[in-house]
Amino acid sequence: MDRKFRTVASLIALAALGLLAIAGCGGSSSSTGGGGGDFVSGAEAACTSANEQIAALGTPQQEQVTGYLEKTEAVIEKLHKEVAALDGSGTAEAAYTEGLAKAIPVLTAMTNAARSENFDAVRELSAGLVEIHLGELAEAAKLKTCAEVPVSES
């Protein structure tokens, strides 16, 4: 009797573990949704904040470009940290997070070029940002706000 009870208990435990495993996998079965709604809502909130901060920077004059780039770099770094922390495991989510990661060293190089007043280099380096197509990656990950271009307030 005791042995039979242990066997049944073991089967129930295994079944429970299996259900948990299935439930765990279910959330990331789509191509876009590691955390599903959690990722989208979290990333959209982060993008809303980032876009507002960038829009508030306005359009800089030549002598303000270095400061503009420094602040933008900081905003994108923070955005990347926030989005990466959401741990989106879907393909599109990972691609968007990776796109943000790729943008950071490019922004660093642009900022450095601006510090040495090499504005041709700033422009040339920005091609590296264009190539990321971050807006398209955001659209693929169903991130509407993240796909929007911040509109300058001045």
Binding site: M110, D120, R123, E124, V130, L134, G135, V149
Partner: protein, 320 residues
Amino acid sequence: MRRLKLILVLGGVLALAASVGVARATTGATTGYPQPKVVVPTQKQAPFENRYVLTAVGSGAGIRSGEMKFEFEEGSSPQFLVGISQFYTYSPTGEIETGLFTFYPPKELPNGKGLGFTALKVGASAQYGQVTPDGELQLLTPEGDKVKGQLRLRGGGPWPVEFKVLGEEERYTASPPAARQIHEARPNNPGWGGEASEYEGEYELTNGAEDPTVKAGTLGAVIGVAQGLGVRGAVVSDGSMTVEGNPAVATVELETGGTDRTFTLTDLAWQGDQRVARVHDEGPDGPVVGHFEGTGGQGEVKGDLISGRSVYKVAFELKG
């Protein structure tokens, strides 16, 4: 011809060396450039293997002074010359900037008049190992210690250039002396044509590029700012121009990197197909921020609109 020890006397040479692989060597240059596809006989290249100082240049080039050096590539067979230069240029705002170039590959000019080289710009992104074709240098056969030729850069020119061969011990500790500016005739006829009806009206931009910010999401704004910078041609995605009034004034609206910019052009002048103007910010009474220099006629105007340190390459067509 003696082989000069490659002591790179040009300022900023570390960036140049890093970008094109120029290294100190006992003989010749070591740039890493491959063998040119077209072979120029060594005896035709040899007279150009020297160090030079720029003594005269067309004023339109905006070059104050410069140094240049040509050496045979170390270990090349057949031998080929590679040049490096540093030009001190006037920025659109009148400041002095340095421009580094290498000249490669050599080619013979027609009728054995001298050598021509593609001018490869090193500088804007030198730290990233990039050189970009930016024009052409033609050098006529040296006469004594003088070499004449012509230079095309940044889509402009050709401008006449004259160089003097430097002796082995001649060095400049600072920038070389200012070259004589060879002045070209500037347009002085008012307007942009003989009759106002030829050029007054509404124009549309015909060389608009795709807006790079459209698919950039959160990065769109910074791309827009960056694309409007630099002296080698900011990216213009859309625009229009209206020319009206007596004296004629042109209002130019440009969209660059998702940002709208408005300029006012005054003192429009023409000569032949040349078209020039002053560029103002904030209306015709606003500060002069640069100039327009281009060509035109038959309902078209195209050229460089220079504002501060930005150059907008524009082409407009009069609407029917």
